[in-house]
Amino acid sequence: MIWIDTLVQGVLLGGLYALFAAGLSLVFGIMRLVNLAHGDLIVMGAYLILVLVTLLGLSPFVALLIAMPLMFALGWVLQKFLLNRTLGDDILPPLLVTFGLSIVLQNALLEGFSADSQRLPTDALTTASMSLGPVTVGVMPLLTFASAIVVIVGLNQLFYRTSLGRAFRATSDDAVTASLMGIKPANIFATATGLALVIVAIAALYLGLRANFDPSVGPARLIYAFEAVIIGGLGSLWGTLIGGIFIGVAQTVGAAINPEWQILSGHLAFLAVLLVRPRGLFPRAHD
């Protein structure tokens, strides 16, 4: 019975990792950019929600509604004025600029909020749990998992049902030809990063509700997100969810054997997939 419980907790944890990863996957899919500051942006989002909660006395969920447009604006500006300048054939500039950004963000957060652990306030709803047949699950992890599904369904709808999604796909396939059709790749990229940061804000909410956070935890979130994306296969959003679940289950199973092995077993599971399926479980046809 304890194993079923472990598995279910692992799957639900995977929802959180899929939320971490969805923004990374979106940005990579559209502009082949890997943002090494992604994890630190999640942590920054958590601090933003925390500030809104403390200053305005809002519920974290209401604070998220305010944080989302702010994060969109930040992402748009970041892409338009900084990251777009790094795109090109050379892989060094985007890597080194986003790595620099990661260090800058970490230290700016450290300066602003100190190294103390913080947590978003929880209420009766977020700490409640319910019985699902043989296992008891928290409402919070369930909500996290549901949000991950909603985000992925939403992104897929956006990609395949809207004109913005068509512009995303066209720019991703061939930015030059897309620009002949009246699309401005620079703005499309900016919108995509804005959207990615909206998802980052959602991920940040659940990060802050689930556990303590401090300015130094960003890189580990980036690594989990990265593992989920690679396991799922580049460019596949549903694959990213499966990848997140894979890491989540590996971590909870590892932790059930020995609490010190939680993180390590996630990494080892990732390396195992890399060994057997270097292109991930659900690779796209090209790239």
């Binding site: 950019l33 890997v34 090494l36 900084l82 300048r85 790094t86 050379d90 892989i91 060094l92 500039p93 985007p94 890597l95 080194l96 600029v97 790595f99 620099g100 950004l101 990661s102 260090i103 800058v104 970490q106 230290n107 700016a108 450290l110 300066e111 890189p219 980036l222 690594i223 990265f226 593992e227 690679i230 010190e260 993180i263 390590l264 990494h267 080892l268 990732f270 390396l271 890399l274 060994l275 270097p278």
Partner: protein, 352 residues
Amino acid sequence: MNTYVVETRTRASNVTAILGMALVIALILLPLYAGRSTIQDMFFILTMLVLAQFWNLLAGYGGLVSIGQQAFVGMGAYALFGGVILAGMDPVPAILLSGVSALVIAIPTAFFAFRLQGAYFAIGTWVIAEVFRLLLAQWKTLGGGTGTSLPRSATKDMWFVDAIKALLDVKTSAARDILAYWLALLLALATIGGIYWLLRTRRGLALAAVRDNTEAAKSVGVDAGRMKWMVFLTSAFGTGLAGGLIYMQKARISPDAAFSVTDWTAYVIFIVVIGGIGTIEGPILGVLIFFALQSLLADFGSWYLLSLGVLAIAIMLIAPRGIWGLISERTGLQLFPIRRRLKGGQLDNLED
């Protein structure tokens, strides 16, 4: 007679060679006229320079951007501690064990990481470094997660320490610092010399060709895959040696410090980017700027790293070849020239 000569030397490089000799002699003799804190600062500068040169070899010449160099620093450090504590080795020869251990773990690391491209390679190396950190934190005889110190008996009777004490008339602790400094100087000179030599050989030419255009390089018979392995393993070995040396001097280790991504990779990347990636001069200039900034801003805590990050971003956007790149562009100065120029033969005769 029409004799063609292929030359890489320039007048600047000849002057550099002479000035460099003088500088090396001055550095060797430094313990005679400098205080202990200067020796320690120089040790820090030289070891960071070694790490920077090897990261530059990987990223600047090999096109392999690794964020996992702390794996090799940490492994080198732990190999030294393991050799001394478990096998009773002297710390000085144990540094070689550091290099070899880093080389050994670099083989599986490369095997996994080479399955990933570009940015994913970067994060992949980082994940693997994390794996090694977490594994070594499980090694209870070497202190587990909290770490351990080198036993006093081992550090007291280290090779050469007595000789240095007698020679320079200093205390044991100062003699240890001087020994570490001389070893760091030796390692730095061997690194710069070795990389310069490598870049001037056929292999170096092949390496530059792979970096500039992999497909074109393959078409003229360069084995791009083998070049990548060679560069990755070489830089792991050198980084491991530096890791062992750094922790021989610190004499205290913990997994979080030895595998710190900030200390052993972020700083190193900033040094190379600010100084000038893809040149030998760049990391030398970069480490001096880095040290100057650190001395200036040491009291400001996180502002220091913050400004270093901003500076690196600005340089990457405005002057992607770094500060040395700017100097070199303006003046045409090359202290370690690797460009081959054709001299003599008919062209010169036509001019006559």
